[in-house]
C-alpha cells in the first residue's frame, strides 16, 4: 500500500491553543495523507498531546481550522462527532485502560458502545482477533493492574484497533519501555499501517521509534513546527534546537 498525496485525512491550519496565559500552540499547520505515518517530535510540555487531542476534538483550538476525514471537527454535533471518532483510534500516553474492567471488557467497550446490535459471537471473535494482533491472547481475563507497562500499551492499541480505524493517533507509544518492547511496538505500528492502510500521527521523543515508524517527521518547538521532512532531512541542520534534541536523545540512551 502506498501514500496517497492527493488525499489529506487530517489537515490543520493555523491552529492556536492557550491555557490561561500560557500559549501552547501558536499557529500549527499539518497535513497527514492517506496511508502515511507522521511522527511529531518535541520536548516534554511542547504541546504534542494537546495537538492530537485537538485532532479528535477532546480540546478545541482557540483559532484555526481542523479538518479530519473531510469534517470540520469544531462544527460537528454530538452524533457526527461520535461517528467521526469511531474512525479514529486514540492510543493514550497513559494507556488509559479502564481499571475496573478486565482486558476483555476493555476491548469490548468501544465495540459495544459504537455498534449496538452485534451478537455475542461477533464480539468474542473481534476481541480474539485484536488480542492476537498484539500477541496477548493469554491476558484476556486479567485486570489492567496485573499487566506490565508494555502489555498495557499493547492492549490500549488493541482497544483502538477493534473498530478498524482509518486514522491512528499514538501518544508516546514507546515511552518508558525497554528497547526490545519498544521495537515490538514499532513493528506493531508499521503492521497496522500495512494491514489497514491507515494513516497515523505518532507522538514520541524516541528517535528510534521516529526513524522506524515515520514516513515523515515534524518537529514541534515553541508552539510551531520548526522542521519537517524525512528523518534524515529533519536532523540534517544547524538549528541548535534540533541538534540538541538529537544529541540529548542518544547521549541519555547510551
Amino acid at each position: 500500500m502506498s501514500i496517497d498525496r492527493g488525499n489529506a485525512v487530517i489537515s490543520l491550519r493555523d491552529v492556536h491553543k492557550s491555557f490561561g496565559e500560557m500559549a501552547v500552540l501558536k499557529g500549527v499547520d499539518l497535513d497527514v495523507f492517506k496511508g502515511e505515518n507522521v511522527v511529531v517530535l518535541g520536548r516534554s510540555g511542547s504541546g504534542k498531546s494537546v495537538l492530537i487531542k485537538i485532532i479528535v476534538g477532546l480540546l478545541l483550538p482557540d483559532r484555526g481550522t481542523v479538518r479530519v476525514l473531510g469534517c470540520a471537527v469544531g462544527s460537528l454535533d454530538t452524533r457526527e462527532l461520535q461517528q467521526l471518532r469511531s474512525k479514529i483510534g486514540f492510543s493514550f500516553q497513559s494507556s488509559a485502560l479502564y481499571d475496573g474492567m478486565n482486558v476483555r471488557a476493555n476491548l469490548e467497550f468501544p465495540l459495544v458502545r459504537n455498534k449496538r446490535n452485534l451478537t455475542r459471537k461477533e464480539i468474542d471473535e473481534a476481541v480474539a482477533q485484536v488480542l492476537d494482533d498484539v500477541g496477548l491472547s493469554q491476558t484476556i481475563n486479567q485486570m489492567p493492574s496485573e499487566l506490565s507497562g508494555g502489555q498495557k500499551k499493547r492492549i490500549g492499541i488493541a482497544r483502538t484497533l477493534i473498530l478498524h480505524p482509518d486514522i491512528m493517533l499514538y501518544d508516546e507509544p514507546t515511552a518508558g519501555l525497554d528497547p526490545v518492547t519498544s521495537e515490538e511496538i514499532n513493528d506493531l505500528i508499521n503492521e497496522v499501517q500495512q494491514r489497514y492502510n491507515s494513516s497515523a500521527v505518532i507522538i514520541t521523543h524516541d528517535l528510534t521509534c521516529a526513524r522506524f515508524t515515520g514516513d515523515r517527521v515534524v518537529m514541534l518547538s515553541e508552539g510551531k513546527f520548526i522542521r519537517q521532512g524525512s528523518f534524515d532531512e529533519v536532523f540534517n541542520t544547524d538549528d541548535t534546537r534540533v541538534q540538541d534534541f538529537y544529541n540529548y536523545n542518544f547521549i541519555t540512551k547510551a
Binding site: A96, F109, R113
Partner: protein, 249 residues
C-alpha cells in the same frame, strides 16, 4: 476569595450539567444498576455491624437515666424514636461517606489523571452520564435503603439489650417500639437519607472529576470528598431537623 468564587461557580455548573444529563436520554441503565449493587455491597457489612452496636450501646446508655424515674418500660419506644429519627440516617450517611464517597473520589480522580475519562469520550460514551449520573443516582437511592435497613438492625440491637435486662419478648418489644413511630417519621428518614446520599455522590464525583494532574490529586480528591461530604451532612441534618420541627411536630 476569587478562587473560592470560581469553585462555587464550577459546582453550580456541575450541578446544572448533572440535572441536564440525568433527565435527558439516553440512560445508562446497565451502569446505574452496577453502581447500585456496588454501593450496597460495599457498605452492607459495616452498616450491619455498626447498626447493631449502635442500637445496643445506646439502649445500655439510656437505661440508667430512665431507671431513675422507673421508666425503663419506655426504652423500646424511646430507642425507636432515637434510631429512626436521628441515628440511622446520620450514622448510615457518615459510613457511606467514608466508605463509598472516598472510593468515588479516588476512582474518578484516577480515571481523570490516567486519561480514562477522555478514552471514554472518544469511544462514543458520555463520561458524565456513564460515570457521574450513575454514581450520584446510586448513592441517592441506596442511602435511604441502607438507612432503613440500619434502623431495623439497630432496633434488633436495642432488643437484644432489653431482652437480656428486662426479659421482654420479641413481639412485645417491637409493638411497644413502633407505637410512637409514624408514617411521617419514615418519610422523613427516607427523604433526608436521599439528601445525604446525593451529597455524598455529588461531592465524590465533583472532586474526582476536577482532580489535578498527578497521583497527589487522586489522594486529595478522595480525602476532600469525605471531609466535605461529612461536613455537609451535619449542616443538612441541622437544617432538616429545624424544618421538620417547625412544620411537622
Amino acid at each position: 476569595m476569587k478562587a473560592f468564587l470560581l469553585r462555587m461557580y464550577d459546582i453550580y455548573e456541575f450541578l446544572l450539567r448533572f440535572y441536564k444529563e440525568a433527565f435527558l436520554p439516553p440512560y445508562e441503565y446497565k451502569e446505574i444498576i452496577n453502581q447500585f449493587f456496588d454501593v450496597g455491597i460495599r457498605s452492607l457489612s459495616i452498616i450491619s455491624l455498626t447498626g447493631f452496636i449502635t442500637g445496643m450501646v445506646f439502649t445500655k446508655q439510656s437505661r440508667s437515666s430512665l431507671a431513675e424515674f422507673g421508666a425503663t418500660s419506655w426504652l423500646p419506644s424511646l430507642m425507636a424514636i432515637a434510631i429512626i429519627r436521628a441515628l440511622a440516617p446520620l450514622v448510615t450517611a457518615l459510613i457511606v461517606a467514608g466508605k463509598v464517597g472516598s472510593h468515588i473520589g479516588a476512582e474518578l480522580g484516577s480515571m481523570k489523571v490516567t486519561e480514562q475519562i477522555e478514552a471514554m469520550e472518544v469511544s462514543s460514551t458520555n463520561p458524565f452520564k456513564f460515570l457521574i449520573v450513575s454514581r450520584v443516582l446510586a448513592t441517592t437511592c441506596m442511602v435511604p435503603i441502607l438507612a432503613a435497613y440500619m434502623g431495623l438492625v439497630a432496633m434488633l440491637g436495642a432488643y437484644v439489650n432489653v431482652h437480656f435486662n428486662e426479659e421482654t419478648s420479641f413481639t412485645t418489644f417491637f409493638q411497644a417500639a413502633f407505637v410512637r413511630i409514624t408514617f411521617i417519621d419514615i418519610a422523613v428518614l427516607v427523604l433526608k437519607s436521599a439528601v445525604y446520599g446525593f451529597t455524598i455522590g455529588f461531592t465524590g464525583c465533583f472532586n474526582g472529576y476536577y482532580a489535578d494532574h498527578g497521583t497527589v490529586g487522586v489522594g486529595r480528591a478522595a480525602n476532600t470528598s469525605v471531609v466535605i461530604s461529612m461536613f455537609l451532612i451535619f449542616v443538612e441534618e441541622m437544617l432538616i431537623v429545624q424544618l421538620v420541627h417547625s412544620y411537622l411536630h
